[in-house]
C-alpha cells in the first residue's frame, strides 16, 4: 500500500487571542482504505477535514497528496477529491433540481453529463429516477443526503471525505445510508468523520481518535476494545445501544 495522503505537523488556531484547535497532527493515509476519524464535538475533527480538503490553510505544517501540495494536485486531478457534509440542506443550491445538483459533481472541464449518466448515479444511491426534476425542499432528509452522496461520487474521486454524513438523519435512515456508503467507499480512500463509534465501526477499517486537537489513538477496527486509552474507553462507554429485552 502506497501513501496517498500525508500530513505533517498540522496546527490551526482560531480567534483572538488564538485558541488552538489542532496541535501538531501527523497523518499518513494509504490508498484505498476507509478511515474513521472520531472524537467529541470540539475535538478538531471538522477543522482537520477542512484543512485536508484545502478549504483552509494550516497555520503550520503541510499536507501532501501523492507527494504534491493540495492546490497543485487538485489542478492536475480535477474532481479528484470530494466531500459529503452533515448539513445536507445548505449543501445544495436551493434553486437547482436534483439532476442539476448531481451534474455539479462531474469534474470541471468535463463535458456536460447526459441524463443517462445522472440516472446511473441515482440508481447507485437508490434514489428513484422520477425525483430527478425535484427541488431540494421537496425531498426528505435521507433523500437529499443521497443526492449529495451521488454528487460526491460522480467524478470517481480518489479521496472522499464524509463529514458526519448521517448524524442529522433518523436512526432508520442512518442504517440505510451507512449500508450504501459501505458499498460505495470500497474503491476510494475515504475519511469518515463522526462522533458515533457505532457508525464508524460499521464502515471503517482503521480508526483515528482525536481529543483536544491531538491524535490520541490510531488502531485497526478489531483492536478497538483492546485499547487502554482513557478517552477512547470513555467514548466506548458512552455509546448507547439497545439493551436486551
Amino acid at each position: 500500500m502506497t501513501t496517498f495522503l500525508e500530513a505533517r505537523g498540522l496546527c490551526k488556531s482560531y480567534g483572538r487571542p488564538p485558541r488552538p484547535v489542532l496541535r501538531s497532527i501527523d497523518l499518513s493515509l494509504p490508498r484505498g482504505v476507509i478511515w474513521g476519524l472520531l472524537g467529541e464535538s470540539g475535538s478538531g475533527k471538522s477543522t482537520l477535514a477542512r484543512l485536508l480538503l484545502g478549504l483552509e490553510r494550516p497555520d503550520a505544517g503541510q499536507i501532501l497528496l501523492e507527494g504534491e501540495p493540495i492546490r497543485r494536485w487538485r489542478s492536475r486531478h480535477p474532481g479528484g477529491m470530494s466531500v459529503v457534509f452533515q448539513d445536507y440542506v445548505t449543501s445544495v443550491p436551493p434553486q437547482a433540481d436534483v439532476a442539476a445538483i448531481i451534474a455539479e459533481g462531474f469534474p470541471p472541464g468535463a463535458p456536460r453529463p447526459d441524463s443517462a449518466a445522472i440516472h446511473a448515479l441515482m440508481d447507485r444511491v437508490a434514489l428513484p429516477r422520477f425525483l430527478s426534476g425535484r427541488l431540494p425542499h421537496e425531498l426528505s432528509g435521507g433523500q437529499l443526503q443521497r443526492v449529495c452522496i451521488a454528487r460526491a461520487i460522480a467524478a470517481r474521486p480518489s479521496l472522499l471525505v464524509l463529514d458526519e454524513p448521517v448524524s442529522s438523519l433518523d436512526i432508520a435512515v442512518q442504517a440505510r445510508i451507512l449500508e450504501l456508503l459501505q458499498d460505495l467507499a470500497k474503491e476510494m480512500t475515504c475519511l469518515f468523520i463522526t462522533h458515533d463509534v457505532q457508525a464508524a465501526v460499521h464502515l471503517c477499517e482503521q480508526l483515528i481518535f482525536l481529543h483536544q486537537g491531538r491524535i490520541i489513538a490510531s488502531l485497526p477496527r478489531e483492536e478497538l476494545f483492546k485499547t487502554d486509552n482513557p478517552h477512547v474507553r470513555d467514548l466506548l462507554a458512552c455509546t448507547l445501544v439497545l439493551k436486551d429485552f
Binding site: 436512526i171 432508520a172 457505532q198 476494545f225 470513555d234 458512552c238 455509546t239 448507547l240 439497545l242 429485552f245
Partner: protein, 277 residues
Amino acid sequence: MMDDTSQKTAGAAPLLEARRVGVRVRATGEPLVADVSLTLYRGRSLGIVGDSGSGKTLLCRSLLGLLPSSLTAEGQVLFDGADMLHAEAAEARHRRGTGLGLLLQQAMTAFDPLRTIEAHFLESLREKCGLAAAGARRKAEAYLNRTGLAADVLHAWPHQLSGGMLQRCMIALTLSLEPSVIVADEPTTAQDACHQFRIVRLLAGLRQERALLIVSHDLAVVQALADDLLILHEGRCVESGPTAAVLAAPQHACTRRLLEARQALSRPFLQLRGGRA
C-alpha cells in the same frame, strides 16, 4: 391506549391526559396528527417514537398549547384540570414552565444571544416562582450542579458555551422551575455520543420525582428512559404499551422496521464488543 398494568402501578390520577388529539392545517384541513391519546402518571415516563415527519414534534407542541397559528388542534389535553388545547393563551402560559416544562432539540437557538445565562434564570424564576435575585441565583446554581455544570456558566453568554453545555443549561433552567411534567423533544439529537449519554443519564435520574415525556427517533434513547412506548407513524399511533413488551413483540410493521434499523446500526459494534468478552 395505555396498558392497564401501568395504571395500577402508578395508582394515582393521571398528571397529563390527551384524548384523541389531532392537528390539522388550518387552510386546507389536511390532517398532520390524528386521533392520538396518551396518559402520563407521576413517576412514569412515556416515549414517543417515530420517523421524521411522523408528527412527533407537532403532538408535543399541541400538548403544551404551542401550535403555530397556521395549524388547528382538536381533541382534549387535560393538565391540572384545564384543557391546554382550548385554554386562554394566558392560562396556558401560566401552566407552562412550572407545570409543563419543555426541552427542545436546538439549545443553540433557545437562548437570547444578548443576555447572559444568569439573566435567563433570574427572569424565569422571578416570573414563574416569584423568587428574588439572591434566591434565584442559589437555585440556579443548585440545578446547574445537578446537570454537571459549574456555577460560573451563569456569567457566560450563550455563544461562549458549546451546544452540549447549552443543552444542559436548558435542562437546568427547565428543572429549576420544578415542573411536574417534562416534555423532552429530541433532547439528545444534536449532541455527540458523550453528551447524549450524559443527558440520558440525567433525565433517567429525574423521572422518579416527575413525569417525563420523551420524544425521539432513537429506540435506544427511549429504551433507556421510557416505561411505556407509543409509536407514531404518519400522524397516527400505530402501537403502544410497556416498553419491554413492545420491543420484545412488535406488532406493527413500522415498529419492527424502527427496531431492525436500530439493531442493524449497532450490530458491528456489538460483534466487536462481544468478540472481546
